[in-house]
Assembly symmetry: D2
Homo-oligomer: 351 residues x 4
C-alpha cells in the first residue's frame, strides 16, 4: 500500500501502534509452510545468527524473544546476583514500564537510579554510585549498568558518551547492558557502526529491538560477553520465552535485518520526527523540549492546539509530564503526509 | 497447497514442527496493516474474548501469551503460594519439560507427583496426597492440581475422570488447572462441549493450546475463576509476556477459533494418528502401547523397522522410553498420504 | 555489676554492641533446664503472647524471630505482592541496611522512597506516590508503607504524624508497617500507650525490637491485622526463622517485657543520649543536628575533637554523612558515667 | 544438676526438646557482659573459626546461623542455580521438613529424590539421575547432592559410603553438601575424624548442627569449598540471618566445641539410644527396625505397650510411619535412668 492509498494515520502515541513491514509479513508467510525443527534448530534462526555476526563484525550469541521486557529482564538476570544493583536512569523503561520484571527475573536485584540530563546517566555519578558500599554485607552490591539507546526522551548517547559510561563501569568492575529497544533509530542518527556503538564501546549485552521498528513481535538478545549464553538458554526456557516454532520469531528478524530494512525503517521514523519537530518549531507558542535525535518529540503546545488536534482525531500522550507537555512518537510507517496532515491542523490553530 | 502438490512430510517427532494454517496466516497478513492500540486494546483481542465466552458458554477472562510454558506457569503462579504443592502426574509437561518454570513463576512451589495409569492422576491418590500434612508448618501445603488434556501419552481424561479429579480437589480445598496444550485434540475425541470439559467439571483455569494445532505461536489463558484475572495481568507484564502489538497474538487465535478451524485441525491430527495406529497394529512385531485417543502414538517396533524408517528419512523419537519404544506425533498438517507413506515403508520391513 | 565496678564503656557506634540485661540472662539460664515442646508449644512463648496482648490492649498474633531484618522482611512479604511498592524513607533500614531482604522475601517488590524531614516520610508525598499509576499494568503497584520508629536519625514520629501517615495509607488503600527496631525508645519519648502508637493509629504489623535494647537476639512480629498470621507461619519456617528450641527466644522476650524492663532500658538509653546532647551543645564548635528524641545523636564536631575522642579510645561513626558529622548511639547499658567520661574528654579539647 | 536430683525425663519425641548444656549457658552468661563489635567482629566468632579450622585440619570458612533449615538452605543456594536439581533422599529433612526453604533460597531449584535403603541415597542411582538430561534446556539441571549425616532414621553413612556418593558427584560434575544436623552423633559412631568424614571424602559444604546436641540455638555453616564464602555472606544478611550481637551465637558454638563437649554430648545421646534399643529388643513383641547407629530408634511395639507408655506420660511419635511403628529420639541430656525408667514400664506391659 502506498501512502496515497490511505487516509493519513492519526496515531502518534507510540511506535508500537504501527503494524509490520510488508517484507516481514512476506517472510512469515514463506516460513509458515512445511515442517521445521523446533526450538531454534531451524534455518531461519541460523540465518539470523549469521546476519548478526556479520552486522556486529564478530561472533555473537543470539537469543530471540518476543518482547523488549523479556529481552531486558533476561539480560539483566544474567548480569547481576539477586543482591546486585542495576544502575539506570530514572526515566528508563526498566525502571518505569516493566512492572518490576528485572526484580522478578533477578530474584530481587535493586534498580538504582543515576541522574543525568536528557534521560542519559551522568558517568561521574554512575561511578560514584557504583563505588559506594562495595563489599559491605548490609548493602546490595554494584552489578551492572543499563543504558537506553535511544532514550525514552528521544535523545541518543553519542559514542563518546557510551565510552564514558563504559569507562565508569570498568572502573567499578561492573557490566554494561544496552536496552536497544530503539537501537536502529539511535544508530542511523550517529555516524558509527553497530560494532562501534556496542561491544567496541564496552557493551556486554544488547537488547536489540525490532518490534517498534517494523516487525510483529520479536527482539534479539545479542551477547558480546559470550559467557552469559549458557545460563540464558536455561533462563529463557524457564521463563516461557523459548518458542517451539522458533522460525516465526526468526523469520521476522531475518527479514528485518535483510537488505537494510531495519535501517531504512529507522531512517523513515527519524525523518518523520525531524520533519514534525521543524514544522512545530515554526508555530507560535510551541516549544520543542530537548533536542530530539531519534523518533520521539517532546514539546510544549498551547492548550487550544492540543485540544484541536485531539478533536481532529490525532492521538498522542499529553499532560503526563507536566501541563501542556506533549509527546509525539513516529514510526517506520509514519509518512511525511501523516506528519504534514498533523502540522496543517496545528498551524490552523496557531494562526 | 493440496497434499498432492508436495512430497510426503517425514517428521513425526512432535506437532510443534508443523507450520501454520493458511487461515491463520491470512489473518496475520490482514492484521499487519494500519495502526492499532497496543497491549490488548485492539479489536482482534476483543473478538477473541467474545469467541471464548461463546465457546465456553459463559463470561471468561482471557490472557494471550506466546507459549504453553508461559500459560501454564502463569496460571499456576496465581493458584499457589510460594510454599504450595502443585499436584501433577510424573509424565506431565510442567514436571519434565519446562525447566522449572512453575517454580520460577511461583517463587518456589513444589511439584508433587501423583501416580496413575495412562499418564493420568489417580483421584484417590490425589486426595490422599492433598490431605497430607495440611496446616503443618514444616511442610509445603496443598494448593492446586494440574491435569494435562490430552496427556503426554496421547490419552485423554474422560468427563467422568475429570469430575473425579475435581471432586478430590474440592474435598481437599484446592484449585484445578488444565494444561490444554492439546485441548482441541482431547475435545474432539470426547462427546462433550468445551464447557463440560472445563468449568462445568470444576476446572478453574485452562491453558488453551493453539501453537501445536495450527497457529504460529499463541496460547490463551482462559480463566473460569475470574478472581485470578487482576493478579495475572500484572504477572504477565512482569514476565515479559504482554505484547505491545497484541493484535498479532489475537489475530492468530481469532482465526484459530473461527469457522471451527481449531476443531477441524484437531480432527485431522487425531484421524492421522488413528490411521497410523491401525496401520501399524496390523504389522508383525508391532505392539501398540496404551490406547491412543488424541494425536500421539506410543508403540514398540522391531529394531529393523526403526532403522529402516530412519534410513528412509522419517523422524520420530525412539529408545527414550525403553528399548524399541517409538513415539509418533501427528499434526493438523499430517495428511493421510503422509501416514500411508510411512506405513508403506514399515510394511516393507515387516514382510 | 554496678557502673562503679567497671571502666567506662567507650563504644558509641551502635546499640548493638551492648550485651544483655541481667534479667534476660537469668531468664535464659532458667529456661535452659529440662524438656520443653519445640516450635513455640512451650510455656515461655505462651507467656509472651499473653504479655503482648496485655501491653497492646487487644488480641494480637505474635511470631518470634532472631533479627530485625527477619522481622521486617517477613512482615513486608505478607503485605505486598511481588509486583508491589513498599513506600519508605530513603534513610530507612529496609532501604539501606538489609542487603535487599525485602526484595528477597517478597520476590521482587520495589522499595519506593518518599521524602520528608527528620528521616520521616511526608504524608502528602506518600499519598501522591501511592496514588500514582494505580492499576497500570506496566507499573509496580502501591502495596504498603513502612515507617521507622524511632528513625535512623533518632527522631520519633508523634502520634499525630503516625495518624497522618495512616490516613494517607487508608486513602490509598495500602497497609502500614512499623519498623520498631527502637520501638521502646520511641514509646518512652512520647506521652502515649503502645496501643495508641500502633493499631489505634492504623498500624497493621509491627516489628518489635528487643535486641538493641537489652536482649541477646530476639524480636517479635506483632500482628494487629491478624489475617496475616497464617501466611507468616509458613513464611517464617520457609526462611529458617522458626526455632525448634523456641523457648530461648521466648524467654528473652518474656523477661524483656516483664517488670517494665523494656521501658526502663529505653529510658536509660534515651536519658544517656539526652545528657550527651546537652553536654555537647555547651561546647564551642559543636552543632547538634536535628532534635534527637530517642537514643541517637547526630552532631557536627570540630575535627580536633573527633581526633581526640578517637585517640582516647572512643568509638563512633564519623564522616559518613558529611565532613565532621558524627553519630553517637547510646544503649540501655550506657551509664551517665560513660557519657560524662566522653564529655570530659570533649570538653578538654574544646577549651 | 545430677540425674538423681530430678524426676526422669519422659520426652523422646526429638532431640530438640532438650535444653542446653551447662557449659553453653555459662559461656552465654560470660559473653553477655560489656561491649563487643557486631556482626562477627568479636573474639568469640574468631575463636569459633580457629576451633573449626583445628577440628577439620584445614582452613575453612564459617558462617554462624540460628537454625538448621537456615544452614541447609543457605548452603544449597550457593551450590545450585535456580534451574538446578538438588539430589536427596526422600526421607531427608530438606525434602520433608523445611516448608520448601531450599526452593525459596535458591529461587526455585528442584529437589529430586534418589532411592536407597536405610534413608541413604544409592550412589549408582544418584549417578544415573545426575547424568540425565544434562544440557537439555527443557529440563532442570544437575547441580548438587545433599546427604544427611546421621539420617532421619538414625542410620549413618560410613566413610566408604560417603566416598561412593562423592565419586558419583565427581563423575556427574556436581557438588556435595552434608546436612550434619546430627553430625556429632554420626561422627562418634564411626572410627574416623571430622576431616575424613567431610572434605577428605569430597564434601564441599557442611551444615554443622549444634542445637540438637546441647546448645540453645546455633548452627555453623562450614565451607570446604571456600569459593562459596563471599556469596554466602550476602545471602545470609539478605535472609535476616546475620546477627548483630553475633557473640551470642558464637559463644554457644565456642563452648560446644571446647573440651570435646560436642563429642561427649553425642556419645551420651548415642549410648542412651543403644541402651534403649537393647532393652526393647529383649521384650516380647518388639521389633527393632533397621540398625540404629546414632540417637534415633525406630521400632514396632505392641499396641498395649504404646498405650501403657503414653498413659505413663512418655512422649514419642507413633503410627506416623505405619501402624505400631514408634520413633524414640534420645539427646545429650537423656540419662540411663531416663531410659531404664521407660524400659521398666515397657517391660511391665510385655510380661
Amino acid at each position: 500500500m502506498t501512502s496515497s492509498d490511505r487516509a493519513p494515520a492519526l496515531g502518534f502515541t507510540s511506535d508500537n501502534i504501527a503494524g509490520a513491514s510488508p517484507e516481514v509479513i512476506e517472510a512469515l508467510v514463506a516460513a509458515s509452510v512445511g515442517q521445521a525443527d523446533p526450538y531454534g534448530a531451524d534455518p531461519y534462526t541460523a540465518s539470523v545468527e549469521r546476519r548478526l555476526s556479520d552486522i556486529f563484525e564478530r561472533e555473537v550469541d543470539v537469543l530471540l524473544v518476543p518482547t523488549g521486557t523479556a529481552a531486558n529482564a533476561l539480560c539483566l538476570s544474567a548480569m547481576t546476583p539477586p543482591w546486585g544493583n542495576i544502575y539506570c536512569h530514572a526515566s528508563s523503561h526498566i525502571n518505569n514500564d516493566e512492572c518490576g520484571a528485572p526484580a522478578f527475573y533477578t530474584n530481587g536485584a535493586k534498580l538504582v537510579t543515576v541522574d543525568g540530563s536528557a534521560a542519559k546517566m551522568d558517568p561521574a555519578k554512575l561511578l560514584e554510585a557504583a563505588r559506594s558500599k562495595v563489599g559491605d554485607v548490609h548493602s546490595t552490591q554494584p552489578a551492572c549498568a543499563s543504558i537506553t539507546q535511544a532514550t525514552e526522551e528521544g535523545s541518543v548517547y553519542t559514542l563518546a558518551e557510551i565510552e564514558a559510561i563504559s569507562d565508569a563501569c570498568k572502573a567499578a568492575n561492573i557490566r554494561l547492558h544496552m536496552d536497544g529497544s530503539r537501537f536502529a533509530n539511535a544508530l542511523v542518527s550517529q555516524d558509527c557502526t553497530p560494532a562501534e556503538m556496542t561491544w567496541k564501546a564496552g557493551v556486554h549485552a544488547l537488547s536489540l529491538g525490532a518490534t517498534k521498528n517494523g516487525v510483529l513481535a520479536a527482539e534479539a538478545i545479542v551477547l558480546f560477553d559470550r559467557t552469559l549464553a549458557t545460563e540464558l538458554a536455561f533462563r529463557r526456557k524457564r521463563a516461557g520465552h523459548l518458542f517451539s516454532k522458533m522460525r516465526f520469531l526468526a523469520a521476522q528478524i531475518d527479514a528485518y535485518l535483510s537488505n537494510d530494512l531495519w535501517l531504512r525503517n529507522a531512517r523513515q521514523a527519524n525523518a518523520a520526527a525531524s520533519r514534525l519537530t521543524q514544522g512545530l518549531a515554526e508555530l507560535d507558542g510551541v516549544e520543542i523540549m530537548g533536542a530530539p535525535t531519534a523518533n520521539i518529540v517532546f514539546c510544549r503546545l498551547p492548550e487550544p492546539m492540543i485540544k484541536a488536534l485531539l478533536d481532529a482525531g490525532f492521538r498522542f500522550y499529553h499532560d503526563r509530564w507536566g501541563a501542556g507537555v506533549v509527546r509525539f512518537v513516529t514510526a517506520f510507517s509514519t509518512t511525511f503526509e501523516d506528519v504534514d496532515h498533523l502540522l496543517k491542523r496545528a498551524r490552523a490553530v496557531s494562526q
